[in-house]
Structures are given as C-alpha cells and as structure tokens.
Amino acid sequence: MTPSPLTPEPAGAAAGTVPEAATGIAEGPAFPQLSDFPDSLSPMLVKELRQGLKTWIFSGVFITLQIVLALSLLLAAAGGSAGSGKFMTQLSWIILVVALPLRAFGALSEEIRSRTLDALVLTKLSAFRISSGKWAALMAQSTLIALAILPYLIMRYFYGGVNVFAEIRMLLFMILAGGLHTAWLVCLSSQPGFILRVLLAAPGVILAWISIDGGSFLGLNISGSGSLDDGLSTSSLLYFAAASLLLTYLLLDIGATRIAPASANLATRKRLITLGALVILVVLEKSGVSGSGLKSFALALAFLAGADALTEAPATAPSTWVPFLRAGVPGRLAAWLFLPGWTTGLWFFLLAFSLAWFPQSHLHPFLFGAVVASTLLAPAALAHLLTREPARLFPYLLGTGALTVALGILIENVKSSAGSFMPAILSAFTPVSAAGCQESDLVVQVPAAILAGVWFLLLLILAFRASRATSAARREAQALVK
C-alpha cells in the first residue's frame, strides 16, 4: 500500500509506489485513532453503540427521564404521594418495554435499503452476528437507561412502602421483556415490506402497552406504591428469563436467516436448540411441572420455529449439503430434519409440534393436528402454491397464524366455552360447535384427522416439487465429498 497519490509527496520521496515499511505510522501530525471500545466486543455491537449513543432519541429519552423521575421523586418527598411510585414504574415500563425497543423496527431493513448488507456479508461477520449485534447494542442502551432509573427506584425506599428487591426484580423483568420485544422487532426488520412490518409489529406494541402494570399475563400486579405484589417471585423471574432468552435467540436467528447468503446454514443450530428446548419442556411436564405458562411457551416455540422452518429457502448451495454428506448415513438421515430449507423444514415442523403436543395432551392428537394444520399448514400450503419465493412467506405465515389464533380465542370467548381451544378455521371445518359434540366423538376426530392429513399431504407434494431445485446442489456436494 502506498501513501496517497492524491496529495503532494514530501520532498525527496520517489514518485509512484513506496515500500511497505515506509507506509507504517507516519511521522508528523498524530493520526486520529479509535480505542473507545475493546477488541473483544463484537464489531457490530461497537458500530451500533457508536451510532446509537449519538442519536437524539437516546440522549432525549435519557435527559427527559431524569427530569421526570427527579420531579416525581420530589413530589413523593413533598406530599408522600403513593401514586408517584406506580407512575415511576409505569413510566419505566413504557420506556424500557415499549419505546426503546421500537428503535429496532428498521434495524436490518435499513441495511438492506441502503445496500450496506453486501459489504457486511463480505467481512467475517455472520448474519447472526449482525442481527445479534444490533440487538445487543439496543439492549446495552436500554440497560444504560435502566441503570439510570435504578437510583430513583431505590431512593423511594426512604419514603417507605417499597421493597427494594422487588423493585430490582421488576427492573430485571422489564429489561428481559424489552429484550424480547426488541428481538421480535429485529426479526421483523429483516422483512422489506414496511406496511407488513407495521402490521406485525403492532400486536407486540399493543401487548407491551397493555401489560403496563408489569405483565398481568403472568399474574403480576403492582401495588399503589409502585412495588410489586408477591406475584413475581425469583423463580418466576428465572423461568421468564430462560423462556425469553430462548425466544430472543430464536427470533434473532430467524431474522439472520432472512439476510444470510445461500451458503450459510443457520437452520441446523436453530432447529436443534428448538427441539432440545421442547424435549426439556416435555420432560418438565412429565415430571409434574405444569401450568399455563409451560403450555403456552411450548406452543409459542413450536409456532415460531415451525413458521420459520416452513418458509426457509431450499438448500441450493452445495456447501450446506457437504457436512451432512460427509457424515455418511447418519448425516444423510439428519439432513431430512436439519438441512436448511422448507422441504426439510416440513419434517422438522412435524416433529416439533409432536413434541409440543405433550404439554397439551388433554387435547385429542387429531384435534391438535387439525388446530396446527389450520393455523400454519393450510396458509403455508396455499402460499407455496402461489409463490416460489418461500423466504418472503415468513411474515405472511406469522400474520395468518396469529390471526387464526386470535379469531379462535375470540370465538371461544364469545361462546363462553370452558372447553378446549378451537381456532376459527377448525370451527368452520368441523361440526363441533354446531352439534355441541364432545372431542371424544368420532364425528369430531375423523374430520379433524382428515383436515390435518390433507394439508400435510399437499405440503409434502409441494415440498417434493421444490426439492428438485436442490438436486443440483446435492450432486455437486456429493462430488466434493468424493
């Protein structure tokens, strides 16, 4: 490398190239150097932090929050207002769980739009390091703000009625919930369609907003002083931490899958971890640990991983095949489940939902299959019939699946039935609601089994057709392995 040919050369320097040794640290004015972040940090995290800390959103929120919290504390000190504590907690919730995560809305789509993703792909950064780096930077900023809130929460202790440890648990809970919300938005940001992203992001924002009292869906309540009632025990927090961290990982990996080059294999790790988590949940359920949280989590995990698996682009890069083929017969068998692409994703989907059924074993398996077929398999089959670009189907599948579930819940609430969960499409296809039949009746089970089977079969046929696109890659990989 030579010094700049665009500026005049120093006296005595030869024109043209200059030996490498002479191009080291030049004498003269000190060259500006950056050493604000250690090398051990992810490059993406460093970049995002440098950018994020300069934004007016971060500094604006930080300063405004300080002012509001200080005023609130002064009011509490002056009048002993019990309501100010709750206000502070709710404000913290809005900032950490609702507002700050919204900055992730364009995290990956901005890279796509400004065409900077190509340059990133050519570095040593993997797609997952890109998505996780963006998430980590946003979370680092959220944590900075949470740390700024902490002194005010603790100072309320001196005005009485506050359990400091409950406050800290609450703050941790907010950070975790904010992290999950941020990961959801980072995942969605891999989709180029703005309106679609808004539509899918909206339920998350609404859910975060209506949970302003500290996550009522977990059975938590905030007292008038702002501290938690006994709802959020340490064990509950740990359970939530484990669940949210797993979902966060999954969401970030799903987002990364959408921006990764064809030669990258993110599916294997993602599917192995999902199956591992589902097995643990089954074991917990069989060990007597039960509860709506476990059931919901198993379903959410299978739903998310299933929707992703059904919409992955088929493995057209030989490099993704090679490790499986090198492993011989076990590898070839594993490829049916773990090779990237929705053609193998279908088998993974089947296994994941089979595992997810165990915690819901109160439902007849045929009925459970019909529910799954209605919410995911049917929209997936229709979508694959209409397009050859599976990667674009993920948000569509999430949307239709979520809509079906929401309709199902709505119908169940309207019917005021205490019975099993029955999505709308299933209600339309089976006479269960009209005839008032029991789940054990054949008249319910047979149509349900047929419904599930038909959609699965249709997808299987489509997957067989799509797998032809991967045959060339497989042949090339086989040649490489030989």
């Binding site: 060259f31 460093v46 065409r115």
Partner: protein, 362 residues
C-alpha cells in the same frame, strides 16, 4: 492479513455462466479469463449483465448454471476463501447515519478480523492511500460523492485483497474526482493487483485497462485490447497526413512502399498503410521526412471506443457478427474438484486479437 494467492491459477475464470431471475435470463453463458495483474474493463449498457456477473464473482449472488473461480476457488463452494482474496466496490455506496469516516473504517477493520495495533496501522495506511486522513472526523453521510467513492475503495482495500472488483466506481463523479480515482486504480494496478472494473466511460477504461470485455444482453460480445478495438480489427493503419506541399505528399505516396492513398484532402491526404506494426508505421513516416515531404501533422486514425461498441452491437443486431458464446440453455452445474483446471490454463474464449473476424473494418 495480506491475502496470498496461487499465481498458477488465473485470477478470475468464468465458464459458461448463467443467471436467471425468474424468466429473465440476465447472464447467458458468459465465459472469460483474467490473468493475474491485469486490469480488465467490463463494458455494457444498463441491464447487460455486468453487475450480476460481478456480484456472482463477489459471492453476493448465485449462478443458475456454469462455474466461476476466483484465485482458483469456486465462488459457490468456497465463498469464504474467495472473500478473503477479493475486494468489492459496489456501484452505489451505502452510508450510515451518525458515523464518521474513521469509525466506518474502524468498524470494517474489526469486522475483517484486525485487532489492536495492527488494526490502527492498517486503517492509517488505507486512509493515507485514499487521502482520507484529513476527513477522519467527517460524518460519512456528509461527504461528497468522490470522497464517498474513495472511502468505499478504502473499505475494499482494508484486507489488502489481490483482486479487486469495482462496479461503476466513477459513476456520478465530477472530473476531478474521476481523475483522482483513476490515479488510485493505476497505482493499484502497478502494485500487481488484478482489477475487474466496469464503467460507462469507455475512453477512461481504454486508458486504464489491458483488455476490455463487452457484454450485451447477458452475452460477451467482445474480448480484446482497447487498441485492437480502436483499430477495428483491421490489419491496416489509416493515417491523416498534413503537409505544407500537399502535391509533393501525394506524389511521394504513389511510389512509397506500404502506402496507398485513400483520399486527397485540402492540406494533405488520408493514407492506408498495409501494416499495424508500429515499426512499419514509424518507418513510413521517417521515409517521408527523409524523402523531403514537409510533413506538419501525422495522425493515426482510431475509432472512439464508444463508436466501436455501438458498431459491435449494431452488427450483432444485423446478424453479421456473432456473440463469442452461442446462447443455450443454462447447463446443470457440474463440479468435481474445487478447481478442475488447475495447472495448464486454456483460454476457452478467443480474444478478438486472435479472432479478428469478430470485428470488421468500419
């Protein structure tokens, strides 16, 4: 972190490359080879397939058929190795908000695996080479187009790649920035780097490049040097001569060896010399002077590259000139080894220098 490259393999080798986007056949059987240390211009209209070809070489896209190798590595099977060897500069420079030039370079240096002092030193070297050291604290979204292109080039050079793929680096630049960029590219070429560069400004490519690749509708239509193209593939040289005594010039030309008069002009004549050998051309001029012809101007006629390109396209349109690779269905990719043609290299695409029938006299 300087990348090492196997010089026994060509820097770039593309073999019957195809790329389909749905029903649109963007690249149709493109083949070419770029030896080490050459600067090759890649020329074509918008949508001709040059960016797609370059993106495939840069491992950013995927061929539907055919093979592409960079430094002996198949771009599909060994993308990581290919990325280590090449620097990629896209046609549009994506910027980041709230980021300075130095932060940008620091980010990419970290992302490429540079650590500690090595990173600082490398950033400094590249920023000095691209003359960005004075702009270190400038926000990148406040930079001019020329500065942005220099930054983009600097980013592509950070890991000291031996092969550079530059897609329209001069597009939208003002003349000064264009000259600066051209200067940088010349220096990189003089350092032995292999450069594949696309541009619409053919005259600049002609000055910079050892050979030119013309692509149209996904097919290579010309592969040869700018000199050959300017001469139009002819075995003759046309010169315009001006003399203070035009009659004496004409008289001399009638008897001089290698010379035929094409037309007499007001101040001289247009002559055809029956050779393109510079020694012969110089010899004829010397003889004219020795024979007492008062020559005041001796100018070898050349076609402008733009004209040559348009002529080629026109002849393909009329069917009087075929593309270098006949169109055909995209082949099923086949692969045996990472680089099946290791060792002796056979050029499968004839250059126009070897096959002058591809071009005709104007």
């Amino acid at each position: 972190m300087s990348s090492t490259i196997d010089k026994s393999q060509p820097a770039i080798h593309v073999e019957n490359l195809h790329r389909l986007f749905g029903q649109f056949h963007a690249v149709r059987g493109v083949s070419f080879t770029v030896p080490h240390g050459q600067v090759v211009g890649f020329v074509g209209a918008n949508g001709a397939g040059k960016t797609t070809t370059m993106r495939i070489l840069a491992t950013l896209d995927y061929p539907t058929g055919g093979q592409a190798y960079v430094g002996g590595y198949n771009v599909v099977h060994y993308p990581a190795e290919v990325r280590r060897l090449l620097g990629w500069m896209p046609d549009s420079f994506g910027t980041y908000d709230h980021m300075t030039v130095l932060e940008y370079m620091d980010f990419y240096a970290r992302a490429l695996g540079y650590r500690g002092e090595e990173r600082l030193k490398r950033i400094q070297e590249v920023m000095e080479f691209t003359d960005l050291h004075d702009l270190a604290d400038r926000l990148i979204n406040k930079m001019s187009k020329g500065q942005g292109q220099r930054l983009c080039l600097g980013r592509a050079l950070l890991h000291d790649p031996q092969i550079l793929i530059l897609d329209e680096p001069a597009a939208g630049l003002d003349p000064k920035a264009r000259v600066e960029l051209k200067h940088l590219i010349r220096i990189l070429a003089s350092e032995g780097k292999t450069i594949l560069i696309s541009s619409h400004i053919l005259s600049e490519l002609g000055e910079m490049c050892d050979t030119l690749l013309f692509i149209d509708k996904g097919r290579i239509v010309h592969h040869g040097s700018a000199e050959t193209l300017k001469r139009g593939g002819s075995a003759d040289t046309i010169v315009t001569v001006e003399s203070v005594e035009p009659a004496k010039l004409t008289q001399w030309a009638l008897t001089a060896p290698h010379v035929t008069i094409l037309e007499e002009t007001k101040s001289g004549a247009r002559l055809r010399l029956d050779s393109i050998d510079p020694a012969v051309v110089a010899g004829v001029l010397r003889r004219a002077v020795v024979d007492g012809v008062p020559v005041v101007d001796w100018h070898r006629e050349e076609r402008r590259l733009e004209d040559a390109f348009i002529d080629i396209l026109g002849e393909i349109e009329k069917g009087t000139l075929s593309t270098l690779v006949p169109p055909g269905p995209p082949p099923v990719p086949q692969l045996g080894t990472p680089s099946p043609w290791r060792g002796e290299l056979t050029l499968d695409i004839p250059s126009v220098d070897e096959n002058p029938q591809f071009l005709k006299d104007k």
